[in-house]
Symmetry: C2
Subunit: 123 residues, 2 copies
DNA sequence: GATAAAATCACCCAAAAGTATGAATGCCAT
DNA sequence: ATGGCATTCATACTTTTGGGTGATTTTATC
């Protein structure tokens, strides 16, 4: 809006650079619109990409925070033992979580879980 | 550009609607820039999302068409035997392809392969 | 403080995935 | 026609994953 006002001002104080200023203003306005859309996109993609467990969605799927953490690691390509190390628990524990994740997502394999979680907008 | 010219023309044929026209032009220019960025985004995301094997990228990774087919199935959450059935070959063949895919993507697991392939823009 | 849900872990078994090696076939381009 | 590449398949072996069951401990909630 400030840019718009400024552009219009330039037009009004027209001297022999009038045409030049008009083109310049037009350009500025186009760039402004371009950047505006850029900003809009950036914000919305940030919202989509947040790694935080969306409480509502997790609740719908009856999935706990811990299970979501494990799910995220699976999607990062981590193995059960790697996840165990990262979360400082035993591999058996991770296996339990993974099994529970599968039944809640209604899948049989981790690759399916990744696909399904993305469809649910969890990842 | 046509829009810009049009806007400038409006300014020159100024009557008592002058200010109104200027604001209108400005608005049009902003919208134009906004839509421009929109178009740019759409085109680039289409490029990224097409499921067809991008010959250039595949060539860079030395990956064959068949290997890419298998990779796509992996990303769909399919097991080796399911992929074998879908492509009408033996599971052993799929295992061979999968191993080759892993070494070319420089990963050790199918979940990692999915992640890596997406980073390379293959999926 | 009782109850419920979440998180932890173990053990066993089975299935799937992954590694290594070797080999046969078909296709394409020089 | 032949050398290289892609595709196919097999066998043997190891590792990872997944299923089922049961149990202990934390944590939160009423």
């Amino acid at each position: 809006m400030v840019l718009i006002e400024l552009s219009n001002y330039s037009v009004f104080t027209a001297n022999h650079y009038r045409e030049f200023l008009i083109v310049l203003s037009a350009l500025a306005l186009v760039i402004f619109g371009y950047l505006l859309k850029n900003q809009v996109n950036t914000r919305s993609s940030l919202l989509k990409r947040k790694q935080l467990p969306d409480d509502e969605k997790l609740a719908l799927l009856q999935m706990s925070k811990r299970e979501f953490e494990v799910l995220a690691k699976i999607a990062e390509g981590k193995s059960n033992s790697e996840i165990a190390d990262l979360l400082f628990v035993s591999e058996n524990t991770i296996k339990t979580h993974v099994s529970n994740i599968f039944s809640k997502l209604n899948v049989k394999r981790r690759t399916e879980a990744i696909k399904q979680a993305k469809e649910y907008g969890l990842l």
